[in-house]
């Protein structure tokens, strides 16, 4: 039985280590609140780490949802200034394919103007010059300031910034209960998922930023029927940058209509299906086939490229039966909404953020903390529009060659551990010092180790060897970590194994099963 050996006291407890939660803890820290963030797994292991990587220009929403579009326009410009090190300035194109309704494009242009979205219609020839792989049968093309954003870099920067301002960010800490005294929240009981230890966190206020898991958290506070519906979307990462510009189909938002170049890959997304449980998102063969077909419409020959990995994310869709009691006026547009549980459920000291999207995480955090300040009657102005989180000081965007340039400088004096993603041994060892983890999957998210074409075939043994060599892992942990990594990786690759990627997977089998025989490593199949 776990014994409460410690207790943490804080002003504000943030639940959820996605972009919203991290934006919130960064915002709170800058306003001088003493804050603790708890995340049940690794940072952005939920929704924020499972999106396509698109920093919206707003173009996608100008017709369907002008309020959301305007938010994106503003936040896109702000984030480009505040967090350039996390952004690649790819630009974006909206293209009308032969399958698309030709009337939509004019409505799109009109909508861009109404939302002050800078848009530039370019000739088809110019679009094809910029993106030679694009379907040559497109009829119109519009350039917009879409970009791709590295969610892991973003998360890491926000967490470092908040920590430097005094906040505590606790990963692998799961909320197991919420404490309520009369009509007010007083804190939470959390479990350290690594040690099994349970302890209490006392807090004056709880901000629930758990996205599609919000209902599970609220259930612990005795609050039911909050209409959080996980909306499943699948995405496929294709090897290579099939395009260097974000490509959107110029249609009402639908499935498989965005192709995002990010780092060394391009990601196609996405679908939208209601899911019963955000932890049970199955990828079906039909969805994969559909997504590949959709890719063909944008880039002919798409299916001949290697599909590296498929995954599903859960959007935090929000459809509250008691929508009239939602505090924020933005709820009309269904962009994001702060749910005021004092007004809705008579529970003080608790707010839930619902809906939203990664592009507007900063605004969501601002709205959430503003609402808390209102309840506390303690006005402290938001500073996240002005202060850059760490790592963004030089004001330069990253580009696809950034890692290679850095790597070339150290080529002569550092081992290359992951050839696909150009990760050196020193970088890995630095990260091991900075973050205490025994989980190869955490390393994957931190450094993109194992995210490239070989999906960890070579680098995972090397990384395990290095972590074990610096005594971060003992033999048993190394076995568990290897097995966990292989299984997690397999989840994302088996539905898309065909062509050269199947060949790659068989080579990986050769290494993992034939040469190393991880299957018979004791403890590995625990």
């Amino acid at each position: 039985m776990a014994v409460a050996s410690r207790r943490i006291q804080t002003e504000v407890l943030v639940i959820g280590g996605g972009a919203t939660g991290l934006g919130t803890v960064w915002d709170l820290a800058l306003r001088g609140f003493d804050t603790v963030l708890v995340e049940r797994a690794d940072l952005i292991e939920g929704t924020s780490g499972r999106f396509h990587g698109l920093l919206h220009s707003g173009g996608r929403y100008v017709v369907k949802d002008p309020v959301a579009a305007k938010e994106c326009v503003d936040e896109n410009a702000l984030l480009r200034r505040l967090m350039p090190d996390c952004i690649e300035d790819t630009g974006g194109l909206f293209v009308e394919t032969p399958d698309d309704d030709p009337e939509y494009a004019d409505r799109f242009l009109e909508g861009c103007r109404a939302s002050s979205l800078p848009v530039d219609e370019i000739s088809v020839a110019e679009a094809l010059r910029r993106e030679p792989r694009l379907n040559p049968k497109i009829r119109r093309a519009f350039a917009v300031p879409d970009a791709s954003i590295d969610a892991w870099k973003t998360a890491s920067s926000l967490a470092r910034g908040a920590t430097a301002e005094g906040a505590r960010v606790l990963t692998y800490h799961r909320v197991v209960d919420l404490h309520r005294d009369d009509g007010a929240m007083t804190g939470a009981r959390v479990r350290d998922e690594r040690s099994g230890e349970e302890f209490d966190i006392e807090a004056r206020f709880i901000l629930n930023a758990s996205g599609p898991w919000a209902a599970q958290i609220l259930h612990m506070a005795g609050i039911e029927d909050v209409g959080v519906i996980p909306g499943k979307g699948i995405m496929i990462a294709m090897n290579h940058r099939l395009v260097n510009t974000v490509i959107n189909r110029c249609v009402m938002p639908a499935d498989g209509d965005i192709l995002v170049p990010i780092r060394t890959v391009s990601v196609i997304g996405t679908t939208d299906m209601r899911a019963a449980d955000p932890d049970e998102l199955e990828v079906t063969q039909d969805e994969v086939d559909q997504m590949l077909e959709d890719g063909e419409r944008l880039v002919p020959g798409f299916k001949q490229a290697r599909a590296l990995r498929v995954w599903a994310g859960a959007r935090p869709l929000f459809q509250d039966a008691r929508a009239g009691e939602v505090a924020d006026t933005r709820d009309v547009s269904r962009t994001h909404a702060v749910v005021d549980h004092a007004a809705r459920d008579g529970v003080k000291g608790l707010l839930t953020m619902s809906g939203g999207k990664l592009t507007t995480f900063r605004l969501m955090a601002q709205d959430l903390v503003d609402a808390m300040c209102d309840q506390l009657g303690e006005q402290r102005p938001c500073r996240t529009e002005e202060v850059k989180p760490p790592g963004n000081e030089d004001g330069e965007y990253y580009d696809v060659g950034s890692r290679l340039r850095r790597r070339e400088r150290t080529m002569a004096d550092d081992e290359l551990i992951c050839e696909c993603e150009l990760i050196g041994r020193k970088r890995l060892e630095e990260e091991l010092v900075r973050r205490w983890t025994t989980n190869l999957d955490d390393i994957r998210r931190l450094l993109r180790l194992g995210m490239g074409p070989c999906q960890g075939g070579f680098c995972i043994y090397r990384a395990t060897g290095i972590m074990h060599g610096v005594e971060r892992l003992d033999g048993e942990q190394a076995a568990l970590s290897l097995h966990h990594f292989l299984q997690e990786r397999w989840k994302g690759v088996w539905p898309i194994l065909y062509g050269d990627q199947l060949r790659q997977a068989r080579l990986d089998d050769w290494i993992f099963q034939g040469l190393l025989d991880i299957e018979h490593l004791p403890g590995a199949t625990a």
Binding site: R462, G465, Y498, R506, W510, Q513, G514, D517, P522
Partner: protein, 419 residues
């Protein structure tokens, strides 16, 4: 168009075994291959049968008990034994193979897992964990493909009878901060390097400890390197396979390639077989892409040894249909489009795992007419799970060898009939 008795497609263990065996019996043989084969990936041991799924101690007995759909059922234990004996005779000058179908050796992998294998080069056989008790695993800083502490820890955890520890040497190799097993092997080919290794290690070893090195003890004359280390350190020394490229696998390739050339055969790389001309139920010639050119090679017999999905001998398209890539032979064992090909658990038995070209008792493809003179061998064959069973090397060697014997018998019979 040039004409040969036999064209072998693929230059892995299966293709080379077939080609060398044929050439040594006087057949005019040419090997056509896209690139070097899977020898460069394999650990250099001949794994015949390691798991069924229980660990196999006596592979000769276990393979006789395999179900009829398994390719070993086409070969039979006697032919496997003959192939192993033949393989052993190809090695001379000290670097020889030891072992048999009687009992599997138990050799450590790089993470310290005991792996059953039938044959191993003498440079590895000393690692047989049935007799080893104290091990020092030696690594080299910069060889990122071999981590001695993982090996030692794995061994200690796997086998209570073994005590293992690790050490790492910091020595200049190729004047580079990182190098692979081949780079290290070239360093070991230098006498000065070997002497430095011996000097550095001597003080670190305890009495009774045997020494595990990454499988990189020389590429030019591995036996000399290994025996010099054994003498210099005064104790048994053995190699453990690393991540690819595999130095012991490259040694196998070099030995068989040289044997092929000595016997008058030829090997052409960058020659991709893309199809065949057929007449009278037989393949008369192969269409071969060489760069942008297409050439024709004619032969009486064709041996397909292009490997499985890993080597490109089989391919699964994005519409989920599979094909054999050289001749378009039918592929058996692929789930229908829409049916599940893989299980969500990585180590599960995947429905597609045994896919390949199905053959009859004479290794000819079934379900395809017009390929009377085509034999299919190695990882292209349906019915096995090479990595799970640890059977890939044995299958390639024995089916390659068997194909050669079948061709020799049938062409001999034809010649007699004509005479």
């Amino acid at each position: 168009m040039n004409q040969h008795d036999v064209l072998v497609v693929g230059t892995g263990l299966a293709g080379l075994s077939a080609a060398v065996r044929l050439a040594q019996s006087g057949a005019r043989v040419r090997v056509l291959a896209k690139g070097v084969g899977a020898t460069h990936l394999s650990g250099g041991t001949i794994d015949v049968l390691g798991y069924t799924p229980e660990r196999v101690e006596r592979p000769g007995e276990a393979l006789a008990a395999l179900p009829s759909g398994h390719p070993y059922a086409r070969v039979g234990a006697a032919r496997v034994a003959a192939a192993l004996d033949w393989f052993k005779t190809q090695f001379s000058g000290g670097y020889t193979y030891t072992g048999s179908l009687e009992e599997n050796l138990l050799l450590p992998t790089a993470i310290g897992v005991p792996k059953p294998t039938a044959l191993a080069p003498v440079t590895m056989a000393g690692g047989d964990l049935r007799s080893v008790t104290e091990v020092m695993a030696v690594g080299f800083r910069g060889l990122k493909d071999f981590h001695p502490a993982l090996l030692a820890d794995g061994l200690s955890r796997t086998l209570p009878s073994v005590t293992a520890r690790a050490t790492e040497l910091h020595l200049p190799v190729e004047r580079r901060v990182e190098f692979n097993a081949l780079g290290l092997a070239r360093a070991f080919d230098q006498r000065d390097f070997r002497r430095t290794v011996i000097t550095e290690l001597t003080s670190r070893l305890r009495p009774g400890e045997v020494v595990a090195f990454p499988a990189a003890l020389g590429i030019a004359s591995p036996h000399d390197v290994w025996s010099e280390l054994e003498h210099g350190l005064g104790r048994p020394v053995f190699e453990v396979p690393t991540l690819p490229p595999s130095v012991p696998g490259m040694r196998v390739f070099a030995v068989l390639r040289d044997a092929l050339r000595r016997a008058g055969g030829s090997l052409l790389l960058n020659n991709v077989v893309v199809g065949a001309e057929r007449s009278n139920g037989r393949v008369s010639s192969l269409r071969v892409r060489v760069g942008l050119r297409e050439e024709r090679h004619g032969a009486d017999w064709i041996v397909i040894a292009t490997g499985g999905f890993a080597s490109g001998g089989l391919a699964l398209d994005s519409d989920w249909t599979a094909r054999e890539t050289a001749l378009g032979l039918p592929v058996a064992g692929v789930p229908e489009p829409g049916a599940r090909r893989f299980e969500p658990q990585y180590f599960a038995a995947h429905p597609i795992a045994r896919a390949g070209v199905a053959v009859d008792d004479r290794l000819r493809p079934v379900g395809a007419d017009g390929f009377e003179n085509v034999l299919v061998v190695g990882a292209t064959l349906a019915g096995a799970e090479p990595w799970k069973e640890k059977s890939g090397d044995g299958l390639s060697l024995s089916t390659g060898h068997m194909a050669a014997e079948l061709v020799l018998a049938e062409s001999g019979a034809t010649k007699e009939a004509i005479a």
